[in-house]
Symmetry: C2
Subunit: 298 residues, 2 copies
């Protein structure tokens, strides 16, 4: 039984009853399980985590649009987080017995259906996009809802599906496929924010660091320490242990130790077993050595 995860981000984080209605519509879809809901008032945004196979995932995302599009009006929306649409981003993530190609195919299928049914322009992103300039979510979202009409009319920004003009209240959507993302933070035994920022600059891809790392240095004010806050966007190619050792070494340069690290949200088991095998120097490790993996396959 294939398991795909989707983490739709909707532009509503304040009206709890609206969010609940949307989540209920998703959760009522046969074959779908809602694993998590996280609403943020200052972002005015909610993130829903659900799993299921291809068919149930498609039905659930369409049910989400059915509920969200009439309920969210971006003309009256404000919040700290950038957004282009009422249903802002919908990633599909391969978890078990399913390939990235399957998720790309699902993303395209759902994108076409959303555009046709709701008359919303849809951009494909990450693995689902063939256009190098439109893989990155930040690039697609730049200008936000307010700049969308101009963007859609400009060169290179014709949407992958749907009209080249924003939906009046729901804007546009970004739908795609990506690897599981790991939110991984390393706390340093210091209150020196400059050290955390220097390390973030060193480790992140955008300023010369590791390919699949996004990072920033932030203070944890109430604890009196600083944190290198990261997103690992492909744990197979840039694994957690390599990031940890990198940050630890950079910190040592400033005489600073790693206090502890933290995983926010969920982490694929394979990311941790690969790290254990690396630290333990296990030769020719595969996940078939893991009892539970063997059980699922038997």
């Amino acid at each position: 039984m294939p398991i795909i995860e989707s983490i739709p981000n909707i532009s509503e984080g304040r009206r709890a009853e609206v969010v609940e209605r949307i989540v209920a519509a998703v959760g009522a879809t046969p074959g779908v399980r809602v694993l998590d809901l996280s609403s943020d008032g200052s972002h005015n945004r909610s993130v829903i985590t659900l799993v299921g196979d291809q068919a149930s995932m498609k039905a659930a995302i369409l049910a989400l649009y059915d509920a969200a599009v009439p309920a969210i009006d971006l003309r009256a929306h404000s919040g700290e987080h950038p957004r282009v649409g009422a249903v802002d981003v919908v990633p599909f993530v391969p978890i078990e017995d399913v390939t990235m190609s399957d998720c790309v195919a699902l993303a395209r299928d759902v994108a076409a259906e959303v555009a046709a049914r709701f008359d919303i322009p849809v951009f494909l992103y990450e693995e689902a996009s063939d256009n190098p300039a439109r893989k990155n979510l930040e690039d697609i979202r730049r200008g936000e809802f307010e700049g969308l009409a101009d963007k859609l009319a400009s060169d290179g920004w014709k949407p992958d599906f749907g009209p080249a003009a924003p939906h009046p209240t729901a804007g546009a959507s970004v739908i795609g496929a990506r690897m599981p993302l790991i939110a991984y933070n390393i706390n340093l035994a210091t209150d020196r924010l400059d050290v955390a920022k220097k390390i973030a600059t060193a480790v992140r891809h955008s300023s010369g660091g590791l390919r699949y790392v996004k990072a920033m240095g932030v203070p944890l004010v109430d604890r009196g320490v600083v944190q290198v806050s990261m997103n690992l966007t492909n744990y197979e190619k840039t694994p957690i242990h390599r990031v940890f050792e990198f940050v630890k070494r950079e910190a040592a340069r400033y005489g600073v130790s790693v206090l502890e690290s933290e995983i926010v949200g969920l982490v694929p088991g394979a990311a941790l077993t690969a790290s254990a095998a690396w630290f333990l120097q296990v030769d020719s490790f595969t996940d078939d050595l893991v009892l539970e993996t063997k059980l699922r396959k038997a």
Copy 2:
């Protein structure tokens, strides 16, 4: 759905057709999956790995006795591995949604039934035994089949179930419950067998080391290196990473590095995720952070 693992050891490793018949009887039990079979001619012994819930596991082990008892005659048995019975040892191991107490109860239930149905003396061992002198398999097996009549008649060795005399051809059985065992070897970048032996002595419980470690130093002749070959009998209380760091530090004392390590057979995922969390210094890690674990529970 509870998952219990059992790893019965039978005293036949040469006559393939006999082993196949016994394994077929086990595998034909509804609800049981046979994960592995490993036969050793010089040991004249086979190890079967199966999983299922309590009821199907009981039925499978009784089917194993039905097939093995008439087929194996210990009076004509020779092999390098110590043994007291045709069905020598039957451990039950908690894997998922089942407690150690459940496995102890199952061991006692199966032991009583085996004794009654086949007239075989049965010793309980490890967690299933309340007698400190009879927890350890090696102690129970000492004297082997050949010394069994005397042992059963001696003080302190009345079996837990069944007659105080050996079954004429099938001897006795040892049935119990234990934690998953991890066969974990560390290869050293040296050919100095004395170093591997000194480290094994330092790390193993019996000579002063860690509580749940059995270890010996062995040469890997064709590779020209030596190995600390270990069984970790309770990975929750004596975790893999602690054993690895212990061996690495002892090796450094002799100027020797760890070449690599290896896991033989299967390892519970939780043992590896706990090690990853330790090396990565993940604060307040629980297996609920693992996506797959969360999925099973959702």
